[in-house]
Subunit: 290 residues, 2 copies
């Protein structure tokens, strides 16, 4: 079993920032890599937002937050960012060309010890492993949005992934406070998104057909299943941009829905819970995250 | 607005018994009609089971249970069963021929004042209204299984239903402790089953493909969404027979799943929560209904 101390997060967007923050919060040495220095202020903004959420919702202390920031460094140079990485977690855009380019360079510059993982929601390890130069040390480690609440980490290997890398990643996921969910076969959408997508598509169809309104659909689900959140509240938590990206890769109906989200939400900056507004405005009086 | 005092439940099966019990529990005068006297012992068995559940899970008292049973009478003769009914709630098998036959007779023998409602999960008011002789006084009033916990009542009218019947049913649903969910357009599966079916089909597919096991799929959903129950726990609550009936009316994939349920569950008497076993055994240590 490898010892994991140094983690490099590839991509400082919404999910990359969350993974970096949680990993640093749990005491690991984290480097956030992004493609250019102009993104630095955006990454810092993401982390400051997370600090406030952890203080408010995860009951973290200011000292813990200081320690978390002290555990994070930044790099805009890939060879430097991964020079001592035990593991990399890739959370860059869901674009095959961009991922291919990153993995090609990463495979050349990372030390032999480094395990590569992807947080991709839509691609399989076997879609990407050919670019990495080390398919035996490559697998998926997939987080949910608001991972400090929704603390599952879905772990999915390809037929090439070796047992040592797999076991190391399971242990690492536990060490950063996640509950490892082992996906036994490669599955697009893993377990969670495979359940969420048809469910949320059905909710959306009810709404767009005029069968019911958003509040009633959510209420029906909450009362009937005891869930704290209905489908449109889940949309807001997952994040409208994430739903848009996944729907854009779906069938015709999904693509139409992606278009609807773009016109009615994304263009107005309504990106869900973290942005303060999506299908609902936040904070809601009733805390939808508990 | 009509005054509702006398309720006749058509069909003393699982759902009919639950609706009758809850309605009587709320102080209404309930008659349970079923097709022949041989079913009497089965109806009583259903009601005794419900009594134990209400005592245990709804914190009802023995006195309340006595009053509930006092409010219930039984009839195996339709004209007698509906002779003073303000409303009928039909919960007989999901078979068009059987329903058609019942509604034809009901339309002849019921007083003019009686509002007819159906608890059908798969048929629309407009599918059935032609048999009733009074489409203006006919609509759907659909309950969830374990309705004392999952206390929604989905109310769906056809284009023919008059406003007075509609409003009376909404008020009645509230009076028996349900939260009325108004379905604005006729929709097969209403709101709840329209959300549940694709979600549960996706869960089943993950399981049957070997992507994961039942416990892990449920756990993933519970942790990621905060729901108290995952999809297979929901199956058990809804009841395997109900899922079987709905799936049998679905597409090819659904029909294959119906077959799977029949072979692996129904033939072994594993009918879900109320029968003590379905995908899980009950009572579970962790109460899955809260």
């Amino acid at each position: 079993m490898n010892k994991i101390s140094n983690i490099t997060i590839l991509g400082g967007g919404n999910m990359g920032s969350q993974i970096a923050f949680q990993t640093a919060f749990k005491g690991f040495n984290v480097t956030i890599y992004d493609i250019n220095v102009d993104l630095y202020s955006q990454v810092i903004e993401n982390l400051e937002l997370l600090k406030n959420i952890y203080l408010r919702e995860a009951h973290a202390t200011e000292d813990e937050m200081d320690a978390t920031f002290n555990n994070i460094s930044y790099s805009f140079n890939l060879p430097e960012a991964v020079q001592d990485a035990d593991i990399t977690i890739e959370a860059i855009p869901e674009n095959m060309e961009i991922k291919q380019k990153l993995y090609a360079e990463l495979g050349r510059v990372a030390p032999a010890k480094t395990i590569f993982t992807t947080n991709s929601s839509t691609m399989l390890p076997s879609d990407l492993m050919g670019f990495t130069g080390r398919p035996h040390k490559f697998l998926a480690l997939h987080f949910s949005n608001l991972l400090f609440h929704c603390n599952i980490a879905e772990i999915m290997k390809s037929s090439e992934t070796d047992a040592d890398s797999y076991n190391t990643v399971i242990e690492f996921a536990e060490a950063i406070g996640m509950i490892p969910i082992l996906v036994k076969q490669e599955q697009r959408g893993y377990i969670l998104n495979s359940l969420l997508m048809p469910f949320m598509a059905a909710a959306t169809e009810l709404y767009l057909k005029g069968v019911s309104d958003i509040e009633t659909i959510d209420k029906t689900w909450r009362i009937a299943t005891g869930s704290p959140v209905g489908p449109f509240e889940i949309y807001d938590i997952v994040g409208i941009n994430t739903v848009y990206n996944i729907a854009s890769n779906g069938d015709l109906k999904a693509k139409l829905f992606a278009q609807y989200l773009k016109e009615n939400f994304i263009k107005q900056g309504k990106l869900g819970y973290l942005s303060g507004e999506g299908f609902y405005k936040y904070p809601k009086e009733r805390n939808s995250l508990k």
